[in-house]
């Protein structure tokens, strides 16, 4: 019988178009090659749809592996992801002690250049795994905003290979992914220009206007 993986997309931007979806696709493609059956859930949708949370819990219960992919939001997980975790932990924390124990693997990415800024969010996922009676199966952290190239891409591939083979994401793979993709000064320079260009080109907002203070203290 084929093994089942549940992919949880924690980005409010959804299952298409978000960086979370792109990271998840890279791992999911490898799992499918290895014969895994995949289900996908967008947690934002699950927690705002009638019956969505119940379906989420049922799919977690039926999985061998849960792969959670999310962006870093204000030093933690996006609110809908926490809401989903609350539902899963509430249901499994009381009912599932004798049930099967799915594994939880995690990938957190952020718009800062340092992958280490994801450490606290990953620790929250580890605490969630304990609360929901899931087996911790390792984590990856990426910085730099987009899908990694070179060293990061190799780490992503290594993580996908490990999961496809039923192995956890090792600390060695996590360390390989966890180095800044470029010098901080260069990232700041490029990033600041990117925001100015995006505001001007897409919305006609000038750099000076970007610094507006609509709630200036009285």
């Amino acid at each position: 019988m084929s093994r089942r993986a549940l992919v949880l997309i924690g980005s409010p931007k959804g299952q298409t178009g978000s960086n979370s979806a792109r990271y998840a696709q890279a791992i999911a493609a490898r799992l499918e090659e290895a014969g895994w059956r995949l289900d996908w859930i967008h947690v934002h949708e699950a927690v705002t749809t009638e019956g969505g949370a119940g379906e989420l819990v049922a799919k977690v219960d039926a999985s061998d592996l849960v792969l959670f992919v999310a962006p870093l939001y204000v030093d933690g997980l996006p609110a809908p992801a926490i809401r989903a975790f609350e539902s899963i932990a509430d249901a499994r924390g009381v009912a599932a002690k004798d049930a099967r124990k799915p594994k939880l693997a995690v990938l957190i990415h952020c718009g800062f250049v340092e992958p280490a800024q994801n450490a606290t969010a990953i620790e929250m996922c580890r605490l969630f795994a304990a609360a929901a009676d899931l087996e911790w199966f390792g984590a990856l952290a990426f910085g730099g905003g987009g899908i990694p190239r070179k060293r990061g891409a190799l780490a992503l591939r290594a993580a996908a290979d490990a999961l496809a083979a039923g192995e956890p994401i090792s600390e060695e793979i996590r360390r390989a992914a966890g180095r800044p993709v470029m010098p901080r000064w260069l990232y700041g320079l490029g990033g600041n220009q990117m925001w100015r260009t995006q505001a001007k080109k897409r919305y006609g907002v000038a750099p000076k206007e970007l610094r507006a203070r609509p709630y200036e203290p009285r």
Partner: protein
């Protein structure tokens, strides 16, 4: 002689249970602080249903400083930047904030700029405003839980960096303790 103006405390209350218990608790906090020249603005988030941040960055590049979602999340961001102390009150949930509180916290990014700067060697976002509130994180737990407490203190500390809080304190309160009293004590010890 003019009295010193009261300091403004904005409380984002992320406790799950709604209703009179919380209302009384916020009133109790108001009472506990009234003798100390604090003025409390409280939001019971379990009753407000703050929409989740969409991650669209419109608040940075399209409508600078204002979230594109027109709900109470906007009012909360405005109250926060106009306060002297921001209190994040929450049951500690997987070492962090409960979802109701995190929805409001995620909606605070209009208060900072998209631009990057280095703070203590790390990349963070630049201030939008001249001054920001100090930050007091108050986490509630049934009893001692060192792993969750450590993560909670780290999250509050890191939020303080990203939200440019001049002073930061994290307080963990166990079941049975007087929450308003613990907050009043922390305020008078650290933020007076």
């Amino acid at each position: 002689m003019c009295a010193m103006p009261a300091k403004i405390v904005c409380v984002l209350d992320g406790r799950r249970e709604a209703g009179d218990g919380q209302a009384n608790s916020l009133r109790a906090l108001d009472g506990a602080l009234s003798g100390h020249e604090w003025r409390v603005t409280g939001y019971r988030l379990a009753e407000l249903d703050v929409a989740a941040c969409r991650g669209c960055f419109a608040c940075w590049v399209r409508t600078p400083g204002v979230c594109i979602i027109d709900d109470v999340g906007r009012e909360i961001a405005e109250s926060v930047i106009r306060s002297d102390v921001l209190i994040l009150l929450t049951p500690i949930t997987f070492g962090g904030y409960a979802s109701a509180l995190k929805s409001a916290v995620d909606r605070l990014i209009p208060l900072i700029l998209p631009y990057f700067q280095r703070i203590d060697g790390e990349v963070h976002h630049v201030k939008r405003y001249e001054r920001y509130p100090s930050l007091l994180g108050v986490g509630l737990l049934p009893g001692a839980d060192p792993k969750q407490e450590k993560t909670f203190r780290t999250v509050v500390e890191r939020n303080g960096i990203n939200l440019h809080a001049p002073t930061v304190r994290a307080e963990v309160v166990y079941d049975g303790a007087d929450v308003p009293e613990a907050i009043a004590r922390a305020l008078s010890e650290t933020f007076s």
